[in-house]
């Protein structure tokens, strides 16, 4: 950097304060005032608002290696290469057991704080990652053609007016479709410190977020993203930097993302749904090593998160929902892996959750083209969160009514 550029930067540093005050108001206009008011209302409430951490296991988690039907001979004969021996699993009852790395989840189960939905799936299962993810993200078989993501619909239902507050936050490089909203602010970033304009930010945000072109023009969407970026940058960096976790999080990416999630969920900046993705579940080959590592990361990450947030007012208001776009084929393949399958388990965790088994373990004897038949529609698991946790009539979000599971939220 040149000497003159340095001088320029110093001078700018002096200018920015004044520009921001003026720019901020111009930038956000009525939206800013409404936003401040809504945030103030939220922060004035005694009880922190109910929140959800949505954790996606991306690539198709092998449910049979996660909750292992260790007492089923059909399991052992189908999984000669990648199966888990009965003696290695952490037994849950006389049929099923946790993957040996899921020690933390087993402890949650023993405490009665883990609810498992077995055999979650949907009719006419699609074996494409992308089509199936779209179905899970929209809660509709028609996928993206049906409109916004299910979380976005939930936010539209819960906060019909407060559209500017970042109620939905994803930690990661690309936004999952579940949070895709045509009306409400959504925030997406990978790591808090660099989540900002390094120079000229006030000018860029003011000019970039301000003028409105005709409806439907991509510029309009970009401008809205610029406004959300400007409105969320400071709050998110501050919340993450000032956060003092009560436990040490593991160093892997999922652990770091969950620490960020814990920071934001407890910061009272309006975050209602936090989304985090755990990548790498598409284990067509060399599954044993890969899936064991994933289970270990999942367990250490989630255990740290739960230990960290439990007992704080905001932390006790966080429900965790874990899902994956599909399970995997019952029979393993010759490359020590498994191909795309259908039904799999989902998990609820967190202080508000009452432990238990829901649904039914799919039969290993009654398969469709080598795949499990799902025993429960995954939208019933969503409905449970919608009705039981957020108090929203699930049909308004899911398009039709699904029967919630009983007793997940006390």
């Amino acid at each position: 950097m040149t000497h003159s550029a340095h001088q320029g930067l110093d001078r700018r540093g002096l200018l920015v304060g004044g520009v921001t005050i003026f720019g901020g108001m111009w930038l956000l206009g009525r939206g800013a005032l409404a936003r401040e008011a809504a945030l103030a209302r939220e922060q004035a409430q005694d009880a922190p608002p109910r929140a959800l951490l949505l954790l996606e296991l991306s690539g198709g988690n092998d449910g049979l290696s996660c909750i292992v039907p260790y007492a089923d001979d059909l399991y052992h004969s189908a999984r000669g290469r990648v199966g888990h021996k009965a003696e290695s699993v952490l037994k849950l009852d006389d049929y099923r057991g946790f993957h040996f790395a899921l020690q933390g989840l087993k402890a949650q189960w023993d405490e009665g704080k883990l609810a498992i939905v077995e055999g979650a799936g949907y009719d006419q299962p699609n074996h494409s990652h992308f089509t199936s993810q779209d179905i899970w993200h929209t809660a509709r078989h028609s996928g993206r053609a049906s409109g916004d993501g299910w979380v976005a619909r939930l936010m539209a239902e819960q906060y019909p007016k407060d559209r500017e507050i970042p109620h939905m936050v994803h930690v990661g490089q690309s936004l999952p479709y579940s949070l895709k909203s045509s009306s409400h602010a959504v925030v997406c970033f990978d790591q808090p410190p660099p989540y900002r304009w390094a120079e000229n930010g006030a000018d860029i945000a003011r000019e970039g977020g301000m003028r409105r072109p005709e409806a439907g023009h991509p510029l309009e969407q970009i401008r809205s993203v610029v406004r959300n970026a400007q409105a969320s940058s400071s709050e998110i960096r501050r919340a993450a930097a000032e956060y003092k976790p009560r436990v040490a999080y593991p160093k892997h990416d999922l652990g770091q993302d969950l620490q960020t999630a814990a920071a934001l969920l407890q910061s009272r900046i309006g975050v209602t749904v936090m989304s985090v993705t755990h990548q790498g579940y598409d284990t067509h080959a060399n599954q044993v090593y890969r899936h064991d590592k994933l289970m270990s990361e999942l367990d250490t990450g989630l255990s740290a998160f739960l230990a960290d947030v439990r007992g704080t007012p905001a932390g006790d208001n966080i429900a965790v929902l874990v899902f994956s776009e599909f399970g995997r084929r019952v029979a393993d393949n010759a490359s020590m892996g498994t191909d795309h399958g259908t039904a799999g388990p989902m998990f609820y965790l967190g202080s508000p959750v009452k432990g238990g088994l829901h649904g039914k373990h799919p039969s290993l004897a009654d398969l469709v083209e080598g795949d499990l038949k799902h025993t429960i529609d995954f939208r019933r698991a969503y409905a449970t969160v919608l009705d039981g946790w957020f108090g929203v009539k699930n049909e308004t979000v899911l398009g039709q009514r699904y029967e919630p599971l009983a007793g997940v939220f006390a």
């Binding site: 320029g8 490089q173 660099p194 120079e199």
Partner: protein, 525 residues
């Protein structure tokens, strides 16, 4: 300059700066004004013809010298070490570990920035995001280079050559595990993606088709980075795929896929979407699918037809496409007249969501608004600031506003970000630490353009850095002019006309360029 003569236009269609720039933007990397003017003078037909130079003139990358390729560029252990090291983000600490793949990436970026064959590079990126493999799974620089080179060589040729050959590249055989697909308990990974993502699209085959096709591909394997058919593990039994039955083998499955009506439709839709920046209407897809079928699925002919099609210049698509990251960084560098190191461009692509050789999934990169998040909008601005020498990456990584500056024991050089996904920013910090500075000369360019006075500086900057459609917008021009005026006055330059002669002129113009490249308008072309 925008009122270009329409004399060279063919078939009664307009050929002005708008059309010329649109074509050059969609077929290359960020057209400069000089290039647009030259294209207007040359006329439409000659400009289109110029996009297809004799491929024999394209030099092979030096890194593919015959001496090194057959045995691989590194020993297997060194290869693994390099991949692991780069994955963990440590290569910046040890320049000797920077692998051949990075060097190839540098060569590729240079081809994008300055070659006479930019359309081939554009389409190579397209195919890299279509016939996906990632170094993360492949783990072998040499095999990745060979695959991308295969895509480049055939980027403008017949689709059949691509789809038939890609399954034999060792990178693909590894990435989708077909090298482990054997008669007993086949692995379906490649067979599924061949149909779903590479040729037909979801809904145009059954689950049984996939299972049976996987059997046909058993034995397609590799050894010593070469395709190898392993007869002993091939399933010679009878299969039924896409309505045909018999002792089908892998090549016959490819034939069957190519014969499907859905194949041309799927590829026409994807190509149109990619080049036009929005999904095409069904009629348009059918029209181009029929063209593909009657022209041996020839991609070059498809592109020539599209570029000459008046509908390609329609209002709804010109200047309305979100520019993908690599194209945006290369295009910005070209417009600014600078040649950043290829490694820097690759890292910027990574930060903005498009890391070459590391597509995020087998589906490649998601286009359009998926590129734009709250973070990437800020990062695009920050990347432009780095290109212009205005933004310090260390300053960006260390959040001085909220965090105490700290020296990190593990990363003594800087407060590097820890997550593996933050490799790009850490690498950029390293490049700045090596003393890299941009060779920007905006004052000189402004003088040539006779941009005297705030309004003319703004107009010049808008025309140079934005696409024609938005550069004419008076709102944008006024905003830029107001920015210039404020920056100028802050430097104590009271007379507009004195700006270019002032010692701080370059700094003012750079800050203005940074502002312009950060605008929503600059993300479109």
């Amino acid at each position: 300059m925008l009122a270009a003569p329409a004399a060279a236009a063919g078939a009664g269609e307009a050929w002005t700066a708008r059309e010329a720039e649109h074509l050059l933007n969609r077929a290359g990397f960020g057209a400069t004004q000089a290039e647009v003017e030259a294209a207007v003078r040359r006329g439409r037909e000659a400009t289109i013809a110029g996009l297809f130079p004799d491929p024999a003139r394209t030099p092979k990358p030096e890194i593919l010298g015959a001496k090194t390729l057959p045995l691989g560029l590194e020993s297997p252990e060194a290869r693994l070490r390099n991949v692991e090291a780069r994955r963990e983000g440590y290569s910046r600490m040890q320049p000797d570990l920077i692998s051949p793949l990075n060097m190839y990436g540098d060569w590729w970026i240079e081809r994008m920035r300055a070659s006479e064959d930019p359309l081939r590079e554009r389409m190579t990126i397209f195919w890299h995001g279509h016939f996906v493999s990632s170094i993360k799974e492949v783990g072998d620089s040499h095999e990745m280079i060979e695959q991308v080179q295969f895509l480049r060589d055939n980027a403008l040729g017949r689709f059949e050559v691509l789809v038939r050959g890609i399954g034999r590249t060792p990178a693909m055989l590894t990435y989708l595990n077909n090298n482990e697909n054997v008669k007993d308990h086949p692995n379906e990974n490649w067979a599924r993606e061949l149909f779903e993502l590479f040729s037909l699209g979801d809904g145009n085959y059954t689950e049984t088709d996939i299972k049976e096709a996987a059997r046909a591909f058993t034995g397609w394997s590799d050894a010593e980075s070469r395709f190898l058919f392993e007869r002993v593990v091939h399933d010679y039994g009878r299969k039924q795929v896409l309505g045909r039955s018999g002792n089908l083998d892998g090549d016959m499955i490819v034939d069957l896929a190519l014969e499907q009506e859905a194949c041309a439709r799927f590829m026409a839709a994807k190509l149109l979407h990619h080049l036009e920046g929005a999904p095409a209407a069904q009629e348009r897809v059918e029209d181009y699918a029929a063209f593909l079928r009657s022209h041996e699925m020839d991609i070059g002919q498809f592109l020539r037809r599209l570029f000459a099609d008046p509908a390609f210049y329609r209002e709804e698509i010109v200047g309305r496409r979100i520019v993908p990251p690599i194209e945006w960084v290369v295009g910005s560098a070209r417009k600014l007249g600078i040649a950043p190191p290829g490694q820097m461009v690759q890292n910027m692509g990574d930060v903005l969501g498009q890391r070459l050789f590391w597509p995020p999934s087998v589906k490649g990169w998601e286009p359009d608004m998926a590129w734009i998040t709250t973070a990437t909008m800020m990062y695009r601005s920050n990347m432009a600031g780095i290109l212009l020498g205005l933004v310090s990456v260390d300053g960006l990584i260390r959040d001085a506003e909220f965090e105490q500056p700290r020296m990190d024991a593990e990363m003594p050089m800087m407060g590097a970000l820890k997550k593996s996904r933050n490799n790009g920013l850490n690498q950029l910090a390293y490049i700045q630490h090596t003393g890299w500075q941009p060779q920007v000369a905006l004052v000189e360019q402004a003088r040539k353009a006779m941009a005297v006075g705030d309004a003319r500086v703004a107009a010049w900057m808008a025309v140079e850095l934005l696409s024609v459609e938005v550069s004419l917008d008076s709102g944008v021009r006024n905003a830029i002019a107001a920015f210039v005026a404020r920056e100028r006055e802050a430097e104590g330059i009271t007379e507009q006309a004195q700006l270019l002669g002032h010692a701080q002129a370059e700094a003012v113009l750079r800050r203005t360029a940074h502002f312009v490249l950060s605008l929503p308008e600059a993300q479109l072309n």
